[in-house]
């Protein structure tokens, strides 16, 4: 498995992040490392990420993916990250196993949409959104390892700031990253 070479410390480690079918909770948790953000800023620079607002990612060392894959756009973004990153990390329950959005997986997606958008109280009749701008919904929500190869998994909903910090610094320093009790959690 790849590690980010500790020898090239002069060059900053380039990180891309994205939130697919997630709630941004994992990104909020990343910000929860508080003042360690300053230390992180010394070590890394960001490519495509909600933090930079860069829309397409270029070659980078680490891609951090929050959220599962629920629509066609998620597939494209995820593939782009995989193609550009040396190491891809699934961050959080949704990326790891589909998470709460995958609770719809035993239901028919068409029926879900009809139920949500058309079965409303009187005077609030709606229809299933069909704007061509909207990405096509997949019939199931997939963990990201069903779409691309994933190097590391960090479970948690969201993983704590401490867990993310431990994992990232392990990776950046070239150690095999490891989470144990009490940092390893699924909730």
């Amino acid at each position: 498995m790849f590690h980010v070479a500790p020898t090239t410390r002069k060059r900053k480690v380039r990180i891309a992040t994205t939130s697919l079918s997630g709630c941004f909770g994992c990104h909020m948790s990343l910000l929860d490392i508080d003042e360690r953000l300053l230390a992180l800023a010394e070590l890394v620079e960001f490519d495509r990420s909600p933090i930079t607002d860069i829309k397409h990612c270029g070659p980078c060392d680490i891609a951090i993916v929050e959220g599962g894959v629920c629509n066609a756009e998620n597939v494209h973004v995820l593939r782009e990250l995989r193609a550009n990153a040396k190491v891809l990390v699934a961050l959080g329950a949704c990326a790891v196993n589909g998470g709460l959005p995958a609770q719809r997986n035993h239901l028919d997606v068409g029926e879900c949409l009809t139920r949500v958008y058309t079965h409303r109280s009187e005077g609030m009749k709606g229809s299933v959104p069909s704007d061509p701008e909207l990405p096509l919904l997949l019939d199931k929500v997939h963990p990201i390892n069903e779409v691309v190869r994933v190097d590391y998994f960090v479970p948690g909903c969201p993983p704590s700031g401490d867990a993310i910090w431990k994992y990232l610094t392990d990776l950046i320093d070239g150690r095999i990253p490891r989470l144990e009790h009490p940092m390893l959690r699924f909730d």
Partner: protein, 239 residues
């Protein structure tokens, strides 16, 4: 009396009493062997295979194999722990385990074992079963999507409560736990909150109502201590 018998567990001598299983003896001596369908108050079930060990080089279930003098048992090895992780992954994908939305999170033996064995991903393709919830009973909720078929509820209801509320039905991949009533609903049985079976489920399949979040997430049993640490401490306290 000075003459006691021992076997070797991962190279350390473990004392045992005649009739004890390897798991019972190991747990009593404060050495944790992962286990899921075992319960100290019930006869061994031997179904989950999480406790698989090697006895004199051959695989066996620690919860069913009797301790014998001189046995060489290995348990905490990369090979056996790797197999255990695979078993856990299969249990996770076979049901619907959305821990962040589960009342049992933090008190769940399946989850605690996954933490202990550092299962980071369920890896396999999910089944996403569609088993309807049963909220018919006034005091207890059932979500069999999280059932791991340890049969502890079946055993407790039959052997302790004398009621036979639960049963295992179907074969192979189609096996599942059912409620023994004409409607299949828990409300149509004589099940009661005071039953042993209402409190024995190691996962979030049989849940007493209205107490789900009495203890907040983060302060629950296995949030505080790893399942192995807890078992080892319990042994020290009992000794």
């Amino acid at each position: 009396m000075s003459d006691y018998e021992t076997f070797l567990l991962d190279g350390r001598p473990v004392r045992f009493e005649r009739g004890q299983t390897i798991l019972e003896a190991a747990l009593a001596a404060g050495h944790y062997i992962p286990n899921l369908c075992h319960h100290p108050e019930f006869k061994p079930h031997g179904s989950c295979k999480l406790c698989t060990i090697k006895v004199n080089g051959r695989y066996g279930s620690a919860c069913t194999v009797k301790a014998m003098p001189g046995q060489e048992v290995s348990s905490d090895t990369p090979e056996l722990n790797g197999n255990r992780r695979v078993l856990l992954q299969m249990l996770f994908v076979e049901g619907s385990h959305f821990c962040p939305g589960c009342e049992k999170s933090g008190n769940c033996a399946l989850q605690a074992l996954a933490y202990d064995l550092e299962m980071l991903t369920p890896h396999y393709a999910h089944f996403y079963p569609s088993r309807p919830l049963d909220a018919s009973h006034p005091d207890v909720l059932i979500d069999f999507n999280r059932c791991i078929m340890c049969e502890l509820c079946v055993r407790a209801s039959r052997e302790v409560d004398g009621k036979n509320v639960f049963a295992l039905a179907g074969r192979g991949v189609a096996s599942h736990v059912v409620v023994n009533s004409p409607s299949g609903k828990l409300a149509d049985t004589d099940f009661a909150l005071t039953d042993k079976a209402a409190h024995i489920c190691p996962v979030g399949a049989i849940l007493p109502k209205r107490v789900g979040f009495a203890v907040p997430i983060g302060s629950r049993t296995y949030d505080v201590d790893a399942i192995s640490t807890l078992a080892e401490r319990r042994a020290t306290e009992e000794a």
